[in-house]
Amino acid sequence: MNLNIEVNNNVLTAMPGDTILDALNRHGMNVPTLCHLKGLMPSGACRMCVVEVEGRKNLVTSCSEPVMDGMKIQTHSARVIESRKTIVELLLSNHPDDCLYCERNGSCELQKLAEDLNVRERRISGNKNNYKLDVSSASIVRDPAKCILCGRCVRVCEEIEGVSAIEFVGRGSKTFIDTSFNHGLNVSTCVNCGQCIMVCPTGALKEKPHIDEIKTKLADPTKTVVIQYAPSITISLAEEFGFKPGQNIGGIMNAALRRIGFNFVFDTSFSADLTIMEEASELVHRITTGGTLPMITSCCPGWVKYAEEFQHDILPNLSSCKSPQQMMGAIIKSYFAEAEGINPADIYSVSVMPCTAKKFEQQREEMTQNGISDVDAVLTTRELARLIRLFGIDMDKISPELADSPLGTRSSAGKIFGVSGGVMEAAIRSAHYFITGKELIKFQVNAVRGLAGRKEAKVMINGLEIGVAVVSGLKNAEILMEEVRNGRKDIHFIEVMACPGGCINGGGQPIGTNEESLRARMKSLYEIDEHDAIKVSHKNPYIIELYDKFLGKPLGHKSHHLLHTNYQERDVN
């Protein structure tokens, strides 16, 4: 049964259980919000979304108030507008006045609201916030002075990721957001996923920048500077340059990277293929030899750290494979260095990732060979856009180029790693071939596609039923692990991604990512898979060559040394 409400003197229908905000949004009516996050519990803290409801003395927060039949609502009455404006003025009164220097200049929601509400004079001035920067984390920089206490980061960290690394600390005007006992993020439970950055309305949270170091290395003639980019980057980068969401600008990006001065441009989707060779072989090995099952993917460094902190007992279930970023790093400084006759110490290896946790992964001690890091620096999608602008490259005017061979050629199985379910699908395709010696008739595994937080399927291979599950958002992983711990035996392989929807929604992606852009990015990845000729990792000719010339066989001695890793329990609070 639908309800009728009257909004600004027009009758609209609403559904029972809607909040006022839901109903308004469904009819395309906008009310400004700050603390609201779609899909999470309403908090009603910022009071930006207030509306006037007839018969109610006080203004009502539309994000948390359920609609009632016959409700009469004014969304932009003089009183409402004045109230919203005052809130913004108060928020600005103690906010640092350094917009010109701020990371989020131009993409700041507070700045936008000040503009929208016509705040054009300083009516209220207060003491400016003065907190220390937290630069302790390898991935995320926190600037509590710019925090407006909307609490979105706290809620994402708790409700989506189940991590709760940060919380409101203190009370009243002295409240700020911090880790337990005000220790840095580096020693907290933070898994570096960066979802907090994605929801932060201001510049209080950002990635640890690596641009300056890369600039220096690009200018150093003794260094061979190489770059690899993750599957989703060729699509999400488009949005940073005003292309429509979902457009694949891989070719233009390759050209731009060469203009900037990178000596070699490689595609991480190639090493995603390599990951599949190793991981699918490991899965087959575990299934046929009675190894620890379910096997769980280890591509996502946010998930890996989470498991090391909260799920120690399942560490043996994690695949020992390094992530594609780290596999590529290891191959660049061994196989590629050897082939090109370059000393690995003279290679500076950069990666572009949709992810902040990759910055943490890159500096893990396990990810080195003889004291040389597999990967030296990691850029997020946002940072790459900044680097391209810094070098004055016009993305509209350059012609597309191909990535370098041999580490730049991929199958489409490697490409779909960018979306939740992609690793699973790619692994199923190759595992099927490894077990039966035959290719799947239909490569698509629809049951593991889509943006749902949890997907499950049963796959028949050679009369053997293999149960697979795909989760994204670590809270969903926690729930699934609990089921496995409590005796679920029908799942043999699990894919976990920390960010909801997978890497297309990573913590390093463009600010302003929303469901619509996510769908466009996902669609684009699957279209690439649809149209590409090579749809399985084991048919990538350069992967075959890599094994022939260098690695030997999957899970072999060299693979073990270069492409596999181990995990350890972490004691953090």
Binding site: S164, E167, V169, G170, S180, F181
Partner: protein, 154 residues
């Protein structure tokens, strides 16, 4: 041997998050403050993130996170004391002890706390050191008050 915190936790079988504050109060009563270790122990016991517990504990004035000094100084910041200059008194004490409220001096002799009112408005501005009240404190009298306590230590 069981730690003090473990003994406390034992008194709360099947406790949920609603028992958090009573547990923290017992821990503080026993240790004199909430140590990091004790917060972690409580967090494991209640299956609640340590950051959440820290958030709750910092919300309330009653919890402290540093070991109290041998002499615990409470500076009244109630209305009467405020009118008679307790802000300056507090500032002077902070300068003299070189600590902020909630902290303990390096030599662990004094710890400083600000309280809303100790109910001795007639003596304003008033401070209490281990329960002994000092009335009508002035910036001049602070040094001699604290020296009396310090002299007991040598």
């Amino acid at each position: 041997m069981k730690s003090k915190v473990e003994e406390i936790l034992q008194q709360y079988p099947n406790a949920g998050r609603d028992s958090l504050i009573p547990i923290l109060q017992s821990v503080q009563e026993s240790l004199g403050f909430l140590s990091e270790e004790s917060v972690v122990q409580v967090s494991k016991f209640l299956k609640m993130p340590a950051s959440k517990i820290f958030g709750v504990a910092t919300f309330y004035n009653q919890f402290r996170f540093t070991q109290p000094g041998k002499y615990h100084v409470m500076v009244c910041r109630g209305t009467a004391c405020h009118v008679l200059g307790s802000a300056t008194v507090l500032e002077e004490i902070e300068k003299y002890l070189k600590v902020k409220p909630g902290m303990t001096t390096k030599d662990k002799i004094f710890s400083l706390e600000v309280v809303a009112c100790i109910g001795a408005c007639g003596l304003a501005p008033v401070i209490s050191i281990n329960g002994e009240f000092h009335a009508k404190v002035t910036t001049e009298s602070i040094q001699s008050i604290f020296e009396t306590y310090r002299n007991r230590e040598v």
